[in-house]
Symmetry: C2
Subunit: 204 residues, 2 copies
């Protein structure tokens, strides 16, 4: 079975990014605190397992423009994402934007495609490209909300990080309940990693 | 060591109560969904363990007025809480209110005291009454926020329930990070129960 997945690190007060994203603060002010659980060495066993889940290869990705870069409005042709020459995706990445741009082929198999006709179109292109390896919804908050509203996500992993950001991008604002059932929980002092099946009875 | 505790059931989008509390909806519209994990029979083993944690006897409680009742403004002398003749507290309960009222002695050892001079005064009275059994901050959201801001909570248990309420009372709005460290996690399909030590390094 080909699953559409999504994996997000979220603060205890519900934010997946802090406020005021800039090139110096890719995830907004304080946002990097949400990712410390998988950036240290050595990792706690539970965090390593969650990181492996985060990094499992997928056939294609859908990503919001703000996750691709801090630029608003027209593209700066020099901007090729946050991740250097070899991004960690190794697959086609479909970036939602209102501004056309030619695809960018990166080292290691990642190609960024820019989709200007909305989430459903980007998801359809990603599905066609992904084949049996499935699509991952990479983020950020707005893109994940669109994917949950479109009921395309089968599995959502949340890393619940015990910090309060107080402001930023909330993951779940304005959504109907998608029907979430926790099926696996692992934890460390740094985060509680909960894997949810999406589309369970009880969503409303 | 005498711990001040707090135990709250919270939706995945951060609400501890739905909107529009009335006598028919004590926890607001949809709020009872947050408590189904401990109201069925038989309980899942993890939920039973979390319920035992929720029901462990304490020496005294601090409670917000909205948790005591749906009445706003002056008291209705007939209102004696949501819990019938024998509330589940079996200890003094200090209710925060702007409206004076004489104590109400209930069956089973619960006495409701009404405190009109703020959280710190209520907490001091509860501490004096509790002795070695410690104080529990019973809720709701506003009272818990005041307790976290006053840095009096040692242990916070959250039952993270996999539902979205979309509106209501948020637990964590407008708080500085109190420094939370998860020390125990148990889970069922109904909720993920996380016990946090409060006041860890890293709060800011």
């Amino acid at each position: 079975m080909t699953l559409t997945t999504c994996h997000m690190s979220v603060s205890l007060d519900g934010f997946v990014a802090g406020p005021h994203q800039t090139s110096d603060d890719p995830i907004g002010v304080g946002g990097m605190r949400l990712h410390e659980w998988h950036l240290g060495e050595p990792l706690h066993e539970a965090d390593a397992a969650a990181r492996d889940l985060l990094m499992r290869p997928k056939g294609a990705y859908v990503m919001g423009r703000n996750m691709f870069g801090p630029i608003r409005g027209d593209w700066d042709a020099d901007w090729r994402g946050w991740w250097g020459d070899e991004p960690p995706y190794h697959a086609p990445v479909f970036v939602l934007t209102h501004h056309r741009r030619e695809p960018i082929e990166m080292a290691g198999g990642t190609t960024f495609h820019f989709v200007t006709d909305g989430f459903e179109a980007a998801f359809a292109q990603a599905t066609a490209a992904a084949g049996e390896d499935g699509v991952d919804i990479a983020g950020g908050a707005s893109t994940v909300r669109q994917a949950l509203a479109a009921a395309v996500i089968d599995e959502l992993v949340l890393d619940v990080v015990p910090v309060l950001l107080g402001a930023g991008e909330r993951l779940f604002d304005g959504l109907d309940d998608p029907g979430l059932e926790p099926v696996e929980v692992i934890h460390s002092p740094n985060a509680t990693h909960i894997r949810y099946r999406v589309g369970a009875a009880g969503g409303r």
